[in-house]
């Protein structure tokens, strides 16, 4: 795998990290308060992206671009489980909470790796797991919250792991399941359900953190008579998708949470004519009432399985002489979206493709609504090749924003496309059964290289890209050849970006200003876990889970089919482990 730095430049902004209030109690367990979630301490990592804005940023700066070469493992811990270990190690004053596949939660001493307790969800025997993973726990007061594969939310005592309550928010038997980390805001535990491949109707549910009682439930697909319902034909809304499988970000000033939504269901767009609100959108949802206060649909009547479930990052940026209270989203549809948030509406500011994208003809400059190239739209009776692939420019692995460099980092796939079309007829939905409208045999062989690349040579397929938040321009990219690149990002005050995601099982540190690889180490399995950073007793740690699986494994399988014999990917073994690194002493 080769790395290519295209441009190296930097426009650093002043650091704006919040250090916030000190934890309540240093000796026992420190209750996680609303104030701490709003202003998390540098030494802790209290939520899946570290702050409400979804930045994936730690202001810790003991580990720097200059000394990261001295990073060594401090401890590691085998989870004893297979499949995709995607959750970040979440840390509160020396106590780490790690969610794993099979809905285990492990509490550990963050300094030593000693297990304190372990919770193991008893999942239904007949449960089928299309996405056997979990993306992390939420913390609030002295509890730990987990959304489960059987579509429930459980509250655990942070000190013992004992279950305080359980509330089911969906029905796994019809294909609803939860893999996201719950958003904790204003005393509520806010979660959603996956199931876009099973024809579910997406929903977000808020539970009272103390009691587990439902505070509100809001569907992402409007029922007849509700705003947006005229974007659906007949009964299509009942099975229209719009699932919610990534944590929302949150603006405490307006009490609005911003959730991304999944693709329309089933996949072929002519099965559900109309714009299909609010699929492939961001919605602004009032966490007090659950009311949808605003939305922006990134693309209408999705045809490409482009979920837009990643919540936009809350980043304020200048445009045309104005300071914009912004939302920034690297779309699965291959466009980098610049939006403006308010007390309600979400306004379009701009969008440009950050990977090859041939499905959109143009973007309306005022509304952001794309128009489409008709020959790039697969239909029930028409196959089409389109770019980027069904996994998009960026799938779920989160971007990161570093206020010191002023850059947004995007873990993207490039030069990959898909080709598929429908089965000709639409099968009747059987609850709990896959309902794609595309034959699975076709999907098995759907991955393509872009026509623009020379396939006889190694093809850059993974690309870590950095964009200047002030100008919206790309500053650098570091590319990886012939590999999946499922790389959740962490960026730090030490001018670093951490990422795994490649088939060679490496976990790497890049210079945040230039993209240059400064450090890398081989891991037991591929790294698709979200990295985090924290400190205990004055030592900064970098933590991440290794554990290949889910869509990284799928892309690996499909990529093997298109790579020539002399460039086949290495086997990536499964098996989860937690790793913690610090500078050599």
């Amino acid at each position: 795998m080769k790395r290519r730095v295209v441009v190296s430049a930097i426009c650093a902004l002043a650091a704006v990290a919040h250090y916030g209030a000190k934890p309540v109690q240093a000796d026992g367990y420190s209750a996680v308060t609303d104030e701490r979630l709003k202003n998390p301490e540098a030494e802790n990592w209290l939520s899946w992206r570290g702050n409400y804005g979804g930045w994936g940023y730690s202001s810790l700066e003991q580990i720097t671009a200059d000394n990261v070469k001295d990073l060594v493992p401090v401890w590691s811990y085998a989870t004893g489980l297979t499949e995709g270990h995607q959750a970040p190690p979440i840390v509160n004053n020396g106590v780490m909470f790690v969610a794993t596949p099979e809905n285990n939660v492990i509490a550990l001493n963050a300094k030593t790796g000693t297990e304190i307790w372990r919770y193991r969800r008893k999942l239904p025997k007949e449960l089928f797991q299309l996405h056997p993973t979990n993306r992390g726990v939420g913390l609030y007061k002295d509890r730990v919250y987990l959304a489960t594969l059987d579509a429930c939310v459980v509250a655990l005592d942070a000190t013992t792991g004992k279950q305080a309550w359980e509330t089911c928010i969906g029905d796994w038997k019809i294909g609803e399941y939860s893999t996201l980390s719950p958003l904790i805001a204003e005393g509520k535990v806010i979660s959603g359900v996956s199931g876009g491949e099973f024809g579910v109707r997406g929903a977000i549910t808020a539970l009272d953190a103390d009691s587990g009682k439902v505070a509100w439930k809001t569907f992402t697909i409007p029922a007849p008579g509700e705003p947006g319902s005229n974007s659906w034909r007949g009964e299509d809304w009942k099975t229209g998708g719009g699932s919610v499988w990534m944590q929302g970000n949150y603006d405490p000033d307006t009490k609005l949470a911003f959730f991304g939504t999944g693709n329309g269901a089933p996949w072929m767009p002519d099965t559900r004519p109309g714009d299909n609100l609010y699929t492939s959108s961001v919605i602004a949802i009032d966490v007090t009432s659950g009311a949808i206060k605003g939305h922006h649909q990134y693309h209408w009547n999705d045809a490409w399985d482009w979920d837009e479930v990643s919540a936009p990052l809350l980043i304020d940026y200048p445009r045309d002489g104005k300071d914009v209270k912004g939302l920034v989203h690297a779309g699965r549809n291959g466009y980098l979206w610049w939006l403006e948030r308010s007390k309600g509406d979400i306004n379009f500011v701009g969008a440009e493709s950050y990977v090859e994208q041939n499905a959109f003809d143009k973007i309306d400059k005022k509304t952001g609504r794309p128009s489409y190239n008709q020959d790039k739209i697969p239909l029930l009776n028409k196959s089409a090749k389109f770019c980027p692939s069904l996994w998009g420019g960026k799938d779920w692995p989160p971007e990161a924003y570093n206020p010191k460099t002023g850059m947004l980092y995007i873990p993207s796939h490039i030069n990959l496309c898909s080709e598929y079309g429908g089965a000709g007829t639409l099968d009747k939905l059987k609850p709990g059964e896959l309902w794609l409208s595309v034959p699975v045999d076709v999907v098995f062989a759907s991955l393509r290289f872009s026509d623009k690349v020379d396939q006889t040579k190694p093809v850059p397929t993974g690309s870590l890209q950095a964009f200047d938040i002030k100008t919206g321009k790309r500053i650098w990219e570091t590319n990886f050849n012939d590999t999946p690149f499922w790389a959740p990002l962490l960026t730090t005050g030490g001018n670093l970006v951490f990422a795994g995601g490649t088939a060679d099982r490496k976990f790497r540190a890049m210079n945040a200003s230039s993209g240059k690889i400064l450090w890398e180490t081989s891991m037991p399995s591929g790294v698709t876990g979200v990295p985090s950073s924290y400190s205990v007793d004055g030592t900064q740690y970098i933590a991440v889970q290794a554990g290949w699986g889910v869509d990284a494994e799928r892309m690996h399988a499909l990529m093997q089919k298109i790579l020539p014999a002399d460039r086949k990917l290495p086997t990536v073994p499964q098996g989860g482990s937690i790793w913690v690194f610090a500078l050599k002493k």
Partner: protein, 210 residues
Amino acid sequence: MSSTKPFSGADPASRNTEVSLNRRSLLSKLTAAGGAAALCCGQSFTAAAETSADAEPSGASLKAGDHFTRVGDGAGLSAIRLSDLPAGAAIMDVMPLDPATGKAREESRMNAVNLVRISNVPSGSPLEATQGVMAYSAICTHKGCKVNSWAPEQNRWRCFCHMSEFDVLANGEVVDGPATQPLPTIPIAIDAEGIITATAGFSSAPGAAD
């Protein structure tokens, strides 16, 4: 709710790892013995909570003598015959049909079965007796998804969820993907009326093995 709590076991020295490990081993044995009560008793060993979801159906109930049928297509239930299955073809996601009652055993998805009739049965092969027909569990041994793709060129079952592949000519052994256990098989015969009939239950319990 208290804002602070001492951490049970937060001090590494106070944690009894051996007890925890023993408990898991015990739980495993007790679960194998099949008791919800055993799980209940095990909880006293540790502070860590483990919850039970609602009781689920006991699993596969396919029996010797069962026929197979398509369900959910609106047509009346009829037994699948050899003549329904051309050489090289598969019929996926069928259910056992109790010939005594005429009802499908569809109380559990663990009963789902895939039928296949391979081409070019080698002379002398036991498959000659069934004219190339074989029956496999349709539940992937990886994460419980339906095995929903038949690749006749390679004689493989494939699971869309995570792309595990199983060799039909090698008793369902895993040949690709993350599954580690073979697909359970069902011994079958073709009866005098040409109906595909189970001669025994599943070779092992269907469902996710990992």
